[in-house]
């Protein structure tokens, strides 16, 4: 009996996973169509969630309907009517909306409806809403994953290593902000568009990096963040095909993700880019990245902030061996990047490229200018790079103390160990010389 129950529990979990999978595929169509009907994104989101709950209740017993998208849409629409009726709308606006919906239900046959309309513009509007600058970055990321990617609150919480209640509150609050400030349904145009687009790209890149630079957590949902960010990047290039930076961000993510299989050894230790086995780089993804970068350039955006970063990564992707890397070009690209995005971290990266292209002396001059930079205070990579340059220049005693300072700042155990070893190597080199 106990065994049977366990078996049933297992079967239910499996059925739920299958339903969630279908729902994830259908969810963007559902929410975009509901948002258009109701002119209210947060409400539309609530209704898609209700449709999911209804499916989870009824499909395990009744079986998955032949056209699950149509089923979910019909259910959500019924709930929408209930909602409007319940709120006893006396406002004329709501009456009109209800009228719109009735008309829409009449004229839009549910059969394969999910395939019948082009949701591009609507989806873009939804993405702009989820990434509204009025919301915090964390709220934008959570809302985007929930509304555009169809992740559950629990999944988002696991991916960001946060308690579920924190994420749930963040989503509720963000939706309330959108509703109360009347921002719930709008598409920016003209100059505002590119400004708002950069806020969207920022969130997508944040989601990608959260998964890509997973410094903590082993959960499989962290790679899932990379997957969703890449998917969002592809969505953006499809719904905003004339925006060079959308293509550039996609290129940057595709090219970075192409190295995923080569980045970690069997023991889970990170492998540095120049030491990676390039045969493990994903060539399909590199091709897609190069295509997206080409598109960004065609659209007149080789100098954008993502285009420059993608061009740098492309230099690595195109080099068959580490020694074939075009360092002068990388150094030049970093110089261009530094000109538009004044950032000491970009300068530090430029110094590394200059060291490879021209030599440690020229690089050290750049790094020495950064030593008193307040934003890099406490950043272990600054002394780490500096120690390396000093070592290469034969200034071993200075290299040793610099590596020791870097080790003291490193937050990660493996990095600390590596830096301590380098300090010791510099110390023995100092004795020998």
């Amino acid at each position: 009996m106990k065994q049977k129950r366990r078996h049933e529990g297992h079967a239910t979990a499996e059925a739920h996973r299958a339903i969630l999978a279908i729902w994830r595929i259908e969810q963007p169509q559902l929410i975009t169509r509901l948002a258009r009907m109701l002119r209210d994104v947060p409400l539309a989101e609530d209704l898609t969630q209700e449709a999911l709950l209804a499916a989870l209740e009824s499909w395990p017993a009744a079986g998955v309907p032949e056209r699950p998208g149509a089923w979910l849409m019909a259910t959500a629409k019924r709930r929408a009517f209930d909602h409007l009726r319940r709120s006893r709308m006396s406002e004329r606006k709501h009456v009109l909306l209800a009228f719109d919906m009735a008309v829409e239900q009449q004229t839009m046959p549910d059969l394969d409806a999910s395939l019948d309309d082009d949701i591009g513009d609507e989806l873009l509007r939804l993405i702009f809403t989820a990434c509204h600058p009025r919301l915090s970055h964390e709220a934008r990321a959570a809302l985007t994953l929930r509304m555009i990617c169809g992740l559950t609150t629990e999944e988002i919480a696991r991916a960001f290593l946060q308690p579920e209640t924190t994420i749930a509150q963040r989503i509720v609050r963000a939706k309330r902000t959108l509703s109360e400030s009347g921002l719930a349904y709008e598409t920016p145009h003209g100059e505002q568009l590119s400004e708002r687009l950069s806020s969207v790209l920022e969130v997508v890149y944040l989601i990608f990096n959260e998964g890509y630079t997973a410094s903590r957590g082993e959960d499989w949902l962290r790679p899932q963040l990379c997957y969703e960010a890449l998917r969002l990047g592809r969505v953006l290039t499809a719904v905003a095909p004339h925006e060079p930076e959308a293509h550039a961000l996609l290129a940057l993510m595709e090219l970075n993700a192409s190295r995923a299989a080569a980045r970690i050894d069997a023991a889970g230790q990170p492998i540095l880019l120049l030491e990676q086995n390039r045969a493990l780089w994903d060539q399909l993804q590199i091709r897609r990245g190069m295509q997206a970068l080409g598109r960004a350039r065609e659209l007149g955006g080789p100098g954008g902030i993502y285009a420059l970063q993608a061009a740098i990564v492309a230099c690595h992707a195109e080099a068959r061996t580490a020694s074939e890397t075009d360092w002068p070009r990388i150094a030049a690209l970093y110089a261009e990047l530094a000109a538009i995005a004044t950032s000491p971290i970009v300068e530090l990266n430029r110094a590394v490229a200059v060291a490879m292209a021209e030599g440690p002396e020229q690089a050290l001059a750049i790094v020495d200018r950064l030593v008193h930079e307040p934003t890099l205070k406490g950043y272990h990579l600054l002394p780490s790079v500096r120690g390396d340059l000093l070592h290469k220049l034969g200034r071993y005693a200075e290299a040793r103390s610099t590596f020791e300072a870097a080790a003291a700042l490193a937050g990660n155990k493996r990095e600390r160990e590596l830096l301590t070893r380098r300090a010791a190597a510099a110390a023995s080199a100092a004795i020998e010389s």
Binding site: A18, A21, I25, L115, L230, R231, A238, A261, I264, A266
Partner: protein
């Protein structure tokens, strides 16, 4: 996870216009949703060729192939979070065939890409 879909069928005629249109819409949706990386239909096997290795002997055989029962008609490559999504996609694709090309039989096989060994 990356999946390859391979569609095989004993039928080798072209799809009905209705099915073709529905598949275009599905493809468009899947490209815009960022899940489909690549896809393509294949010309009839009769126009292709097979290079066979049997008992240490290579031979090049041109079509038509009278003995071929199930023929690969098309493929697609998707990137999806898991096998459940992969199955759901294939079911949706085959439902279109059921609805829009009566009498068609076939198989949509899905296979996860092997990840390179570490």
């Amino acid at each position: 996870m990356r999946f390859m879909y391979i569609v095989t069928s004993p039928h080798n005629g072209p799809p009905t216009p209705e099915l073709l249109e529905a598949m275009h819409k599905l493809t468009d949706r899947e490209i815009k949703s960022g899940r489909m990386l690549d896809n393509g239909g294949l010309m009839p096997l009769a126009k292709g060729a097979q290079v066979r290795l049997k008992a240490g002997k290579l031979s090049v055989v041109d079509g038509p192939f009278v003995e071929a029962k199930e023929v690969v008609g098309g493929y697609a490559i998707f990137e999806l979070p898991g096998k459940e999504e992969a199955v759901a996609m294939a079911v949706e694709f085959m439902q279109l065939h059921k609805d829009l090309m009566p009498g068609w039989d076939g198989t949509c096989e899905l296979r996860e890409f092997a990840t390179p060994p570490q």
